[in-house]
Each structure stands twice: as structure tokens, then as C-alpha cells.
């Protein structure tokens, strides 16, 4: 059990970002973007290379497959940290970098952790083809023709059955995500205009019950985000704290869909095995406990699941509605652009686009806190929750950040 005192004891003091767009000049690799973002973050934090005590990167980018990607980045940055690692719990590892960074600085072993995520698969790969099969288990799933959507669809099918969830309820997520994306200058689907529930239900079937507009769009470019984490006392003495890491948690339940149905049934997932509950509930429970906050205290939420219906499960598990009530919550305006919970304010994976991995959702949350969210500013953001996910609903992380120190 994490000592409660870690909650709020660390802060982000520098953020760097690098972006590229397909067709926007010579293509850039994730390493190019990551190095630029990292240098930018160190400069903004006002620290030198020699002060970096830990480097944590997301997992090896799909478009830059080297083992020990953290070493490639460390090499380029010419830093010599005491701790360095990829955080490999799929996409959940992006937020995992912040969690490990916070624990490393909280322990007192180091003063500064540099956390970097980067990918530019949208520039280098046809991901619609390349990713289609890579999430299937190669002996027991892929040979049956399991596409990635068809693996997530197993959760959708059973979840809809258990709780009488309809495709129209899930479609509302796609509609509201698109509405936010229309306000974001870099959103992949901005130029496509708004969509309706009927548009989603009329789009072509990919893997039932998932239609084209129920699915994430791959970001047509690349984004690197780098963040510097330090202790709150150091942050206040020597920097301008951008956000405090009030609480965080993580839970991974499986690697393959088949395995989700075997081997659980004990804490923390005593209600399993099943295909309609995920590790997000446990990740959120840890984060809320550490932050001493409740869902009603959260002003803004970002998540990173690639299919419409999965947002309903995640909204339930993050505590914004009851279990099985995700559909009714969304249908009654729970995440409406107008008046609902500010949810996926960049447009989410469905309409901003999925960058394989990234801290860009956290960057968005902190931008919202400081009034830097360009045309999509949410008023009075003090506390935000970011959910990270990877694998077929396999790995989940939750991080709660606050503008002021709460604990």
C-alpha cells in the first residue's frame, strides 16, 4: 500500500511538446520529437541535464522499434540518471511515467524525474493495417481472424448484454467527442464537421457492435510530450508549480482477451472474470484514496480508450455514474459539450486522434487549469482526472492533478 503522504507531495514544473503532421515537411521520428520535447521541458523547468535523476519513457514507440527506447533517448539527451526505464504497461505506461517519477522524487533518492512519451506512427505507418492484428494472441486468437476492434468488441458485446446498453447510447460519446474536436486546432477530425447519433449508427460496420464512427481515428502525425516532476517543496522554492500530482493508481488485469477470462476472481477484481469490468475501477480507487477526493470534486476528465462503448465502462469505473449506468448517464447529457462533465476536451481518441501513447491528455488538462486551452477553455478548472489505457482494456492508470496543493 502506497503511503498516503505521497499524494500532493510532488508537482510538475516543466512541460515540453513537439508535434508533427503527416505531409508537414520532412517526416520526423519519435526520437526527434521526444528529444526536442525533453530539451524544451528541461528549459522551461529551468534545470540542467545533470540534474535529471530519473528518465521514464512510455513503451517503445510503434514507429521506432528499438529495445530499451529509454536508452536511445538518454543517449541523445546526454543525461546520466540514477533510474531509467520504459514503462511498458501499454498506453497506461504514459501516465505510469509520472507515477514512477513522483515516487522516485518523493522517496528523496532523486530531485528531478523527466517523463517523456512520443510517437509518430501516423507519419510512418499505415496503422489501420499495421495495428489491426497486433493485439491478438498469436496462437489462440489471431488465427481465427481476430481484428483489434473484434477483440474490444467482445467487451462491448457482453457489457451491452449485461446492462441493456444500446448502440445509440455509445454513439453519444462519439458525437460529444467530435463536438470538442471542432474547437481544437490540431484535432484529426476537426475538418469533418459535427456528427449525429444517426451518422454513427449509419456508418459501416467494422466488427459488431462497433461501427466506423465508434472507432478511434489514428492521429495523422506525431506528438511528443515531456514533463519534469519534482517534490512540492522544491517546486515552490525554485520553480512555478504547474500541477500537483494529488493521487494516482494503476491496475493491469491481462495481456490477451482470452486470459481476461481466466485467473481472476480475487482482489482487486473479485467480481471477475468477466468482460464488462476492467482495472480502471481499481486504478481510480487508488487515485481517489491518495488524493482524498471523490468523483464530484473532479472538474475535467480525459480518457484514452479507442472505442465509443468503452467510454461508458470507464465513466462508470471512474465513479461518475453507477455500474451499468454509463449509457443512461451519457444519454441524459452527462458528458454533453453544453453543460455536461467536461470530458475528452481535445476530442478524445475518437476525434482528436490516438497517438499510440502519450502524456498529451495530461498536457491538455494542465492547459485547461491555466486558461491556455485556446478556443475550448473550460471555466474554473482546479482538479482534473486523466485515465490512461492500453491493450484490449488490459492496463489502466489514473492520475488526479490539482492546480493548488490540496493535501
Amino acid at each position: 500500500m502506497m503511503r498516503a503522504s505521497v499524494g500532493g507531495s510532488t508537482a510538475i514544473v516543466g512541460i515540453g511538446r513537439a508535434m508533427t503532421r503527416r505531409g508537414d515537411g520532412p517526416p520526423k521520428t519519435p526520437l526527434q520529437l521526444g528529444a526536442v520535447a525533453a530539451v524544451d521541458a528541461l528549459r522551461k523547468a529551468g534545470i540542467k541535464r545533470g540534474q535529471v535523476g530519473a528518465l521514464f519513457t512510455g513503451r517503445m514507440p510503434t514507429s521506432y522499434m528499438v529495445l530499451q527506447y529509454n536508452q536511445a533517448l538518454l543517449n541523445e539527451l546526454k543525461i546520466g540518471p540514477a533510474f531509467s526505464s520504459e514503462v511498458t504497461s501499454h498506453g497506461a505506461g504514459a501516465l505510469g511515467t509520472l507515477q514512477l517519477g513522483a515516487m522516485a522524487v518523493h522517496s528523496g533518492a532523486i530531485d528531478y524525474a523527466l517523463c517523456v512519451t512520443n510517437d509518430s506512427s501516423g507519419v510512418w505507418l499505415n496503422q489501420t493495417h499495421a495495428n489491426a492484428a497486433t493485439e491478438g494472441e498469436l496462437q489462440f486468437e489471431y488465427p481465427y481472424g481476430a481484428s483489434t476492434p473484434s477483440l474490444y468488441a467482445q467487451f462491448a458485446c457482453r457489457y451491452m448484454h449485461e446492462f441493456n446498453i444500446t448502440p445509440a447510447m455509445a454513439a453519444r460519446v462519439a458525437v460529444e467527442n467530435r463536438r470538442w474536436a471542432l474547437d481544437h486546432p490540431h484535432a484529426a477530425m476537426r475538418s469533418k464537421g459535427p456528427i449525429t447519433v444517426d451518422d454513427v449508427l449509419a456508418s459501416r460496420m467494422i466488427a459488431s457492435p462497433l461501427r466506423l464512427l465508434d472507432c478511434a481515428v489514428w492521429y495523422p502525425g506525431g506528438i511528443a510530450t515531456a514533463m519534469v516532476v519534482t517534490r512540492a517543496d522544491v517546486a515552490r522554492a525554485d520553480h512555478e508549480p504547474l500541477a500537483y500530482l494529488a493521487g494516482f493508481g494503476q491496475c493491469s488485469t491481462h495481456e490477451w482477451v482470452s486470459e481476461r477470462m481466466g485467473g481472476w476472481g480475487y482482489a482487486p477484481l473479485e467480481d471477475g472474470p468477466n468482460m464488462f469490468r476492467t482495472g480502471a475501477a481499481e486504478a481510480a480507487r487508488q487515485a481517489y484514496a491518495m488524493a482524498a477526493l471523490k468523483p464530484k470534486d473532479i472538474d475535467i476528465v480525459q480518457t484514452s480508450v479507442p472505442f465509443s462503448f468503452a467510454h461508458l465502462i470507464i465513466l462508470e469505473e471512474l465513479g461518475f455514474c453507477g455500474i451499468g449506468e454509463g449509457g443512461a448517464f451519457v444519454e441524459s447529457g452527462g458528458i454533453d459539450y453544453d453543460g455536461g462533465l467536461p470530458f475528452n476536451t481535445m476530442g478524445g481518441y475518437l476525434s482528436f486522434g490516438q497517438v499510440s501513447q502519450g502524456l498529451y491528455n495530461m498536457h491538455e488538462t494542465i492547459n485547461q487549469m491555466w486558461g491556455r486551452a485556446e478556443g475550448r477553455q473550460v471555466p474554473d478548472v482546479e482538479v482534473g482526472l486523466v485515465h490512461g489505457h492500453g491493450g484490449p482494456l488490459a492496463s489502466h492508470s489514473a492520475v488526479i492533478v490539482s492546480k493548488e496543493r490540496l493535501q
Binding site: 489491426a132 492484428a133 481472424g145 481476430a146 476492434p149 466488427a207 482477451v257 477470462m261 481466466g262
Partner: protein, 155 residues
Amino acid sequence: MNYEMHKAIDWSQGLPLTAGDYFLGIYQPSPETAGYWEAVARRELVLKWCPHCRIAFHPKRIVCTACGADDLEWKRASGRATVYSFSEVHHAPSGVFAPSVPYTVGLVALEEGVHLFSRLIPEGDAKVAIGAPAQVEFRVMELGQLLPVFVVGKP
């Protein structure tokens, strides 16, 4: 160990897996699953079995989740199952599956309490639905490989 499962397959070469233009790797049985594929070649469905706890597991399992034993045995399954979840695939993951769309993949709950991912094939007027009974059959599928599949609507 005999890896020969079907005459179309030369296990010494493995099976190439592709997704669109991308080559993902070679698919081969692993030591802990070889017995499963040998049984498939005999058109039998087997599961891992802990002789101490008397629990059946997925064929990939290496250690018993209850007692930690690693001397798991192979035990023949009845092949009777019910559909747990399913998805009708309209957009195939690679060219080799494209001529088969739409086809249905899903999880079945075997009588022994183990869930397997498989192809679900409705027979006659049967519809694939949650809870529908299904029975194992062995068919050569798109990759040229003999696989256990589940026929829905067969008594």
C-alpha cells in the same frame, strides 16, 4: 516432439502472420502449448488440468493459479460450450481473411469452466447469441491450419 499437425503446415518454418502489408512474425506453438496442438491434430480438444486442485485451465497456462503447481496435465474437454461474447467481423485484419467476411469470432465458455477464443459458425438457421449452445469441430481455416472452431446451433 511431434509438431506435425496438418499436412499443409511445416512447423520447422512456422507460419507467417501478416496484417495488410506488414509482416508480424512467425506463429509457432510454444513448449507449454505443444500438447494442445498435437491433440488438435488428432481432432481432440484438451485443456490444462491441475491434478492437485482438480481445476481446468486455458491451454496456455503454465502454473496453477490456486496452488502454484507447474506439473499441469492435459485433460480432454467435452467440446460442449455456450457463447459468452461474440463479434461479427466485417473489416478483416489481413488479406487472407478478407474473402471470409463477415465471419464471427468470440469467446465460448466450455463446460469445464474455461473460456476459449474461437471462430463461431452458425449451423442452418441458428444465430450466434450470448448463451447459445456450441459444439467444437475441427476445420482447416484461412491460414491453412487445422483449428478447433465452435458450431452454434448444433445439439
